[in-house]
Each structure stands twice: as C-alpha cells, then as structure tokens.
Subunit: 351 residues, 2 copies
C-alpha cells in the first residue's frame, strides 16, 4: 500500500481523489507500528491451558460471593462485567465497608496487560486473582477458607477435576486462580478501533480518526501502546508537571511500594485505554469523573502539550472507538452449600 | 382415577400388581387438591403487561448496583440468581455494613406468593421492589436519586420509553418497580415435583413420594400449599410449641408490625418451599442452616408432630424435589454513567 500511495502521489488529480483513503492507510501504518488489534481467539496463557470446563469453572468462581469471608463480595463486585468490567467508584468498598487504596481496573482485555495492578505487582491474572480474595479491605478471606468452601460443595470438586484432569488433588488455591484467569482471558472486547486497524475505514468517524492522529502526534502512544493502548509499561505520573495532591495523593507512591527504588516513586502502570468511556472515574486515585478532563490532565502532566479544545474533543472521540463488544455471559448457577461449608462472617478482624 | 382405584382394590391380585401406580395416582389427586404445578408461561401481572422490552429493562435494573446509594448493592446482591435467588446469609449485609432484620427470601417463583416480605407488607413484587432500594440498612437510596440516576443515562430513558409506550414521562419510580416485577415474573423454576404433579411418576424417587405423603398426612400443607407450597397465608411461628428466642427472636413480632393487632404477634407468612435446598439458612431469623433440622423444628413447633427419623429423612428428600431449573439469564450490559449521573456515596446517614 505504501508504495502504491507513493506512486499515485505524483498525480495531483489522483491525489485529490484518493487523499482521504491514502491518509487513512498512512495513519493505519503508523498505528499498526504502535498498536495491535485484539485477536479473534482467546490468547494462550503461560502454564494454563484454556478449556471450556476451566472457563466455566472460572466463571462460577468469578461470580461466587462465597469466595469472600462475608459472602458479600465476588470478583464481579469490583470488576462488574455489566459496567465496563469495573465498579464505577473512586475506590472500591470492601469487607467491613472499608475502601480500597486505588481505583479498580477493568477486567476486560486485562489478559493483554504485561502485568496486573496499578503497580504491576502481579505478573499475570492468575497471580492477580489471589490478591483481592486475601486483602483485608476487599474479600478478607484466606486460601485455607477458600479451599474449605470449595471442598464442601461436591459440584465444585467435580468441576475442578474436569478442569484439571489427571491431577491428584485439583482443588488448590493455584488452580482456583488459574480457572479465574482462564475465564478472564475470554473477556475480550473487539471495538471499532480494531475493525479500523483491520482495514475497515468506515469503522471510525472522521472525528475519531482525527483524534487518533492527535493521539499519535502528541506522543500519547509513547506510554499507551500495544493491544490495550497501555497496561505494558511503568511511567511517572507527572512526567512533565505533577498534578495536585487530590489527583496524585502523596501517600501512594505507586510502583515504589513494589521495587523500593527511588526512581519508581509515583510511577504507575500506564492505564489500558480500552473501554475507558465505561470506566469512570479515572486515574489510580479515581477522582476525575470526566474523560475529557482526564485527557486534558494527561496531555499537560505527561506531555507538556497544550492541546486545543478541538484536539481534546477529537482525542476523546477517538477513545470512544475503543469501547468494544462484551461477549455474552450467561449467569452461572452456583453449587448449593452443604453442612461443611464455612459460614459467612462479616466480622472485621483487626490488622 | 379414584373410582377406578376403588374398583380395582377389590381384587387382591390386581392390587398387588397395580399398587404403586395407583397409590401415586391417589396421592397425586390429594396433592393436586393442595398444590398446583408452576405454569409453563409467565403469569399475567395486575396492571403490568409483561413485554420482552420490560423484562430486559427489569433485568438491567435488577443487576444495576447504581440503584443503591453506594453503588455497591443491586437487587441481585441479596437475591442472587446464581445461589437460589437469595444470599445464603442469616440476614443480609447492606449499606454501611449494617445487617438487615430478617433473612432474605428467594426471588424465584416469588410472583406466585400472595404477598411479599416475611410479614406480607407488600401486595406484589412491584411494591416489594420499592422497599429495599429505600431501606437505610439495605440500598439506602431515595426514589428521587434513583430517577436522577436513570434519567442521566440516555439508554435507560430509551428503554423506559420502549417498555412503557405511550406514556409522557415513563421514567417513574412506579415504572422502575413494574419493570423489575416483570423480570422477576420470568424467574420460574419447574422442578421434578411439577413433572410429577403433571403425571410423570418417574419424576420423583420413591423416598420423595413417601416424603410427600408424610407432608400431606402430617398436615404441613395446611400452611404450605398452593403453587409455592407456602407464601400465601400467615401463621403464628410456634402454633403448638414456641421455639427458643434464638430461632424466634422476641424483638421481631412479625405481621404485628404491619397490622398492630395482638393476634398477629409472631405471625409470619408461611415460607414458600420451592428451591429450599438452595436457600439455607432458614426461618425469618436465618439461624438454622440444616434443612433436616428445620423440618424437625417445624414439625414439632407448628404441628406438635413427633416424626420418626425415617419420616424426617423422607420429608427432607421430598423438599429436594422442589428444586427447579433456573431459566438461562444473560448478564445485562448496563448503560455507562454520564456527567449528570449522581455519584456513589458510601456515607451512612443517621436515622
């Protein structure tokens, strides 16, 4: 295409006629250097074969509130598949009505992130899944109690056996996490941007295409690139200009808490941008509700760019092209408790 | 059938051969005097036509946590369609980590109850739906704030228009409740007992059939009758012998709180028994986790009956035949918030 474009560019008449299409092709080439469309199939996971049985088990676990100590919260509470894969709160409410420290990220397409959590402290979704279940301010459970709960219900034991064939004792906390990872790997949301990347010029509006051009020209893609337009690198929040403490609370030093390296102070994983229109409020602090405002803050604090109102509008419109189609999810029917099932406890234990 | 049975009973040989089938037919006749199978179609609702649009809207509202002040709880939190239509807790945890006063009843087949709540204070599911949304210990919202929330999202406004065609201002709290009622009316769970009532002898095991006979002979059906084997009459808990304060807390006088009539002290709506195997713990106080124990308590406190261990086993087995097939429920994709959407508030206001 590039060479054809070059050839035709010599002819003014041909240029005038073909210009929009050529411009899109050139832009697409640039975009494909920075981004990849979501694949049409579930990606392979490291050391975790995705089977229909495992996905079904993972879905049951994802929706089961009995995985929390109180019986109130499931994974879906904070990563609600009906509301963009997150919970639309600044920070989540958890066990004992405590609030978590950071904004809940979307589960959609999370499988394409290089690492999980705002500070990347989990290498993959299986490792991530083990976190909230045990966090005192979230689900406040223990691996032991999760296993007791699972083992108390014969259907769960059977589902683990079917999902991890050949294993002597398949009901383990590792396998619990792997099943959830397998389900989450199916939560891929193809968007108009993917159709456009795949060659369909009509998939994005002119405004969205203009927004993409601004996105690339302004340098947003330096941090927000790859399949998820983010989620695969760590950057200081306030690279050029530090935002106020309301947006960047001083107490949360980000990746520094993982690496304890001075250079990682206030460093966070670049937020994946897919479905960002559905996942307000924004930033790790979850204090900015308006996407346009978030774009403006990013442009000035990260790039020192002074975008025009029109550019911000176009850029925001482009982000809308990242809102995808969520796969149909049938609500799982969960096993009934037995006499052996640990009882829910809403008691809040001291730290 | 009854007369045929009587005719054949004269012949000892015929009796011996035909006995089980005849006995089932006789038992079925008796059962059909007391119970009705669930219908194959969604029942008509008073002043509320059930349309696919309204059911879809109701489903969205049922699953939308933004109907609560905090954004934490949806109808599905306490009436979880994956766990028997209830939450498997003694009493539900709600706004501000407060616990409710009574055990959450199942939403499945609730449309067949004569009235809703343990004290029957709501005439139908639409009236019921308005309760928890406003209860300070549950969703802690106000009708005003619910309407502001709904009106802030154009998709919701459109869905209300489609569900209530011809209405000038379809986004009302009444219509909110009617849509939820319409969705809930679809949550009907045909069970082996229905197949048996409909003439399929093989649908229940011998033990379950024996349990049904005991159920009828012991008089359980005096209170637990109709489509839901309960849900359509009010009876004192402890008709013959009052259970201890742990099971029947003195502070909760039941229907007395609705009627303020002395005769209604400790009077509760007979619990519907469908899907009872999935909805532990039991009673309005939610303190008994074991179904067999609950059966035993009921037999002695309500009927003064001293059932044998075998009879209790059979009766409990019969209750298992009431566990039905839940219709497939696709998780709804909910509209995204806008700048006008009221923000979630986890603040607990003083009463």
């Amino acid at each position: 295409m590039k060479s054809l474009t070059a050839t035709l560019a010599g002819s003014a008449a041909a240029f005038a006629l073909a210009s929009p299409a050529m411009a899109q092709d050139e832009l697409r080439d640039w975009a494909l250097d920075m981004f990849s469309p979501v694949p049409a199939t579930v990606p392979a996971l490291e050391d975790n074969i995705v089977t229909p049985e495992k996905v079904d088990l993972g879905k049951a676990l994802f929706f089961d509130p009995r995985m929390s100590a109180s019986g109130v919260f499931s994974c879906n509470s904070c990563h609600n598949v009906g509301t963009g894969g997150d919970d639309n709160m600044p920070t989540s409410v958890g066990h004992g009505w405590q609030t978590g420290p950071r904004n809940s990220p979307t589960v959609f397409n999370a499988v394409f992130n290089e690492a999980q959590f705002w500070d990347g402290r989990a290498a993959d979704l299986a490792e991530q899944a083990k976190g909230p279940v045990q966090a005192g301010v979230e689900m406040a459970n223990t691996p032991d109690n999760v296993l007791k709960t699972l083992n108390s219900m014969p259907e769960y034991v059977e589902w683990f056996e079917e999902s991890f064939p050949g294993e002597d004792d398949p009901v383990t906390f590792d396998n619990f996490a792997k099943a959830i990872e397998a389900f989450e790997a199916t939560l891929i949301t193809p968007a108009p941007f993917d159709a456009w990347l795949n060659g369909n010029d009509a998939a994005m509006t002119e405004e969205q295409v203009a927004g993409l051009e601004t996105f690339l020209e302004a340098g947003c893609a330096s941090c927000h690139n790859g399949v998820n337009l983010g989620g695969n690198g760590y950057y200081p929040f306030g690279l050029v200009e530090k935002p106020g403490a309301e947006i960047l609370p001083e107490g949360d030093k980000g990746r520094y808490q993982v690496t304890e390296t001075a250079v990682d102070e206030y460093v966070f994983r670049a937020s994946p941008l897919r479905n960002i229109t559905e996942t307000a409020p924004y930033f790790h602090s979850g204090v900015v509700w308006d996407l346009r405002t978030a774009v403006d803050i990013m442009a000035s604090s990260q790039l020192g760019a002074d975008l025009s109102e029109q550019e911000i509008d176009e850029l925001t419109a482009f982000l809308g092209a990242l809102t995808g189609e969520v796969p149909e999810i049938t609500y799982p029917m969960l096993p009934a408790e037995t006499a052996e099932t640990p009882r829910p406890s809403s008691e809040v234990l001291p730290n």
